[in-house]
């Protein structure tokens, strides 16, 4: 089992969610975050003064998936979240050692 964390554009959330539905991996957890990478910040003006806002709003998507679903899920996210412009975000894969479903105390792959 792997943990996949993807940082995507906020307005891509719905497309990505639907795409993950279609490949049969609906389970996910979403967090509102802010980030910076290569995308440069934006400027806001208040009473004639410019403020550089360098952290831009993003959405973090977290999914636990079976080992052999990793490729499929990563590809699906990468594909559906892409605009081709700087700021599209990243996907990170990290190892998972155990999963428990709280409702039933099932463990392991079944618990996802």
């Amino acid at each position: 089992m792997k943990k996949i964390v993807a940082i995507i554009r906020p307005n891509k959330l719905n497309v990505v969610k639907d795409a993950l539905d279609d490949i049969g991996c609906p389970g996910l957890t979403v967090t509102e975050v802010k980030g910076r990478g290569r995308q440069k910040g934006i400027t806001e003006i208040y009473r004639g003064r410019e403020y550089q806002i360098d952290l831009l709003p993003k959405i973090e998507l977290m999914m636990i998936v079976a080992d052999n679903d990793v490729e499929k899920v990563v590809d699906t996210i990468a594909h559906s979240a892409r605009t081709g412009k700087i700021g599209d975000g990243k996907i990170f894969i990290t190892p998972v050692e155990g999963v428990v479903r709280i409702r039933t105390s099932e463990r392991g792959d079944d618990a996802r």
Binding site: N11, I42, E44, I45, Y46
Partner: protein
């Protein structure tokens, strides 16, 4: 002596009524709308109402007021005089028992809210520059003539059309204009109505209800029995429509919603507007109860079927409840409330015919004239923002600011 007939009580009432109607737009309507939109469009939504009020404030005193209330020119428009309000303040003239200037100022607040109302249909995708151009064009070519027809001694008033406080001039007019623009603008990419902060909408609804007492009871132009009567029926129609909207939701879903109740309040206030100085309490209850059915049906059945994207339901609520109110005025106007008007149920069916005519004429004129104005703006500077701007949200994209910072 000029002040001979000035009545300080009437003047006090008109001063405060004017302030109340101002409050309806700024910040009442602005908040009502802003609570319903996405977090990313809040400031732009507020801005549309504020800028409508500001631009109307200037235009009205430069040339708007005389075009409506100047000497009638063939029933179509007023004769412009007194531009820049020249010599009106100085002359200390009276309009009945109140200063002419307070009447002019009071009327300005109606012009301003009428334009601001339209913005609710357009949020999330309208160019700001297009709006800044639309305000003067629409005021000049649509609001001023229609207001003259109905209130300034124009052809509709000559025919005897009844519109106590603006069912035709304000609500049908703005609702239909909203529909016309929406057809040009096309729908938003994301049409969901998930209010980002309903509390704003509730503050807005409260201020609108409060301000509407100035709108309707102020239209009596005196502080006496007629104002009182308009005040009472305004309140009871709003309450009835709120409860009937709740009932509809309850029958359909088993639950009533706060936004539904707020929508009912507005529909009830709109519907009683043309009738406020003409009907009694039982008629006002009927007008209020029924209007929620009209607007609810429009929003839930007709809009999805026809597919136009009237974002915050300006046509559905102001247009259609306005039409119902205008017709209801022809049905329920009681000569015992106001000797000036007799409706169908008191034996004057002709009044209903006149009301139909006024509704039809306003609808047709507002729709066509707004379409033309919209087309012209679209062909010159364009009506719609880029897809990128729409997706990013207008606050950031076209104003470089954000409503919230953590």
């Amino acid at each position: 002596m000029v002040d001979a007939a000035l009545n300080s009580g009437d003047t006090a009432w008109m001063l405060i009524s004017t302030a109340l109607v101002m409050l309806m737009t700024v910040p009442g309507l602005a908040l009502f709308y802003a609570g319903l939109v996405k977090r990313e469009n809040v400031l732009n939504t507020l801005f549309l109402s504020f800028s409508a009020y500001a631009v109307a404030s200037i235009i009205w005193f430069i040339y708007g007021y005389p075009l409506v209330f100047g000497a009638d020119f063939h029933g179509v428009i007023g004769v412009p005089s007194d531009v820049f309000f020249y010599n009106v303040l100085e002359s200390q003239a009276l309009y009945g028992s109140i200063p002419t200037s307070v009447f002019a100022m009071y009327q300005l607040t109606f012009a301003a809210i009428t334009v601001a109302l339209i913005s609710g249909a357009l949020i999330g995708r309208l160019k700001f520059g297009a709006w800044m151009l639309f305000i003067p064009l629409w005021l000049t070519f649509v609001y001023l003539p229609v207001a003259h027809w109905v209130w300034g001694g124009g052809w509709l008033s000559q025919l005897g059309a009844l519109d106590f406080a603006g069912g035709t001039v304000v609500h049908i007019n703005s609702g239909v204009a909203a529909l016309a623009l929406v057809l040009l603008l096309k729908g938003r990419r994301d049409r969901s109505l998930l209010p980002h902060q309903l509390g704003y909408t509730i503050i807005g609804a409260g201020l609108l209800w409060f301000g509407w007492f100035g709108f309707n009871a102020g239209s009596a132009l005196t502080a006496g029995q007629l104002a009182t009567s308009a005040f009472i029926v305004t309140n009871i129609s709003a309450a009835s429509a709120m409860l009937s909207w709740m009932l509809i939701e309850y029958l359909r879903f088993g639950k009533a919603t706060m936004l539904g109740a707020a929508s009912g309040i507005i529909a009830g206030l709109v519907a009683i507007t043309p009738a406020a100085g003409f009907v009694n309490v039982p008629s006002a209850i009927i007008i209020g109860v029924f209007t929620s059915f009209v607007s609810y049906a429009a929003i839930s059945y007709i809009k999805p079927r026809l597919g136009y994207d009237d974002a915050l339901d300006v046509f559905g609520i102001h247009g259609l409840s306005g039409i119902w109110g205008a017709l209801a005025t022809g049905i329920f106007a009681s000569p015992f409330i106001n000797a000036a008007a007799t409706g169908l149920v008191y034996g004057n069916p002709a009044q209903l015919g006149i009301q139909v005519l006024a509704v039809g004429a306003t609808f047709a004129y507002s729709f066509i004239a707004t379409l033309i104005i919209g087309k012209v703006i679209d062909a010159t500077i364009g009506l719609r923002v880029t897809a990128d701007d729409e997706i990013q949200g207008l606050d950031q994209a076209i104003h470089d600011e954000a409503a919230y910072h953590v």
